[in-house]
Symmetry: C2
């Protein structure tokens, strides 16, 4: 199973693809997409959508897993998250790839077994699960891979539940 | 000047195009785009983006004007607005059409001369400005036309200011 994970942002969008072969995770792709910083929002979204569309087309993942970050009551931040998510969702859906969304606590729980884990703990665990020598920079890259691992892990759980 | 106005929503998206010839407004297009209600969000956004892309391509507006509705502290509603806006922004920007955003108070002020006008007052004024016999249903259609009129009106103001 190949899953493309996405940490949505309109200035930096972490993307990471993880292949799961049955007992181990393999890193397939890891990037932070950064549209021209001074471009207006519509142009940044066009840029992100174009890159994501090309990546989904080339990679042909089985799923796209998108994080829904916690934004408290910050309405402006929530709109920006929605905008970035939409660029990814449109790229996935127009290439026929199903999309799943996960809350930060679900991602943390799946990767570290603890829903209240720190960002640093998540990053360490991602590095360890994928057997990487160096920490991933910027951290959006690790976050995107964590969402992909979260999706794989919850799919496995569902399968196990179905077998029981 | 031809402006495509958009009242963003992921279940119903009002769109309306207004041509301004120098002293009067003409209705060119008015629709409410409604993706399949039971489809998941990614599929609804793909559907909306596809329609909007086709409409922008056919219509070739000079501007796309998008409302940023007031969502108070409702983070979930704000994310949905952001998602719907992104579908429109990507369609506009990928066809080279500039995008402007307006707050509800700006739209109300431009159309009725009063930033605190009711929805009904805005709808009546849109109907009157465009010389329509019947009120527009659903109201998202009138809202979209109001945003287009707002953009035209603020462009005119900027031009007058520049001439002075």
């Amino acid at each position: 199973m190949l899953v493309l994970g996405i940490d949505p942002g309109t200035y930096s969008m972490g993307i990471g693809a993880v292949e799961y072969g049955g007992d181990d995770y393999t890193l397939t792709l890891s990037e932070a997409l950064a549209p021209p910083r001074k471009a207006e929002i519509a142009e940044r979204l066009r840029w992100l959508h174009g890159r994501l569309d090309q990546i989904v087309r080339d990679l042909k993942p089985d799923f796209v897993a998108i994080e829904t970050p916690f934004v408290s009551r910050n309405v402006k931040a929530a709109m920006a998250v929605g905008q970035a998510q939409a660029a990814a969702m449109i790229a996935a859906a127009s290439n026929g790839v199903p999309v799943a969304s996960y809350a930060p606590s679900e991602v943390k729980k799946a990767v570290t077994d603890y829903g209240g884990a720190s960002k640093a703990q998540v990053q360490e665990m991602v590095q360890s699960l994928l057997g990487l020598d160096e920490p991933l920079e910027p951290p959006d890259r690790a976050d995107a891979l964590a969402v992909a691992i979260c999706h794989i892990s919850s799919s496995q759980m569902t399968e196990i539940e179905m077998w029981e």
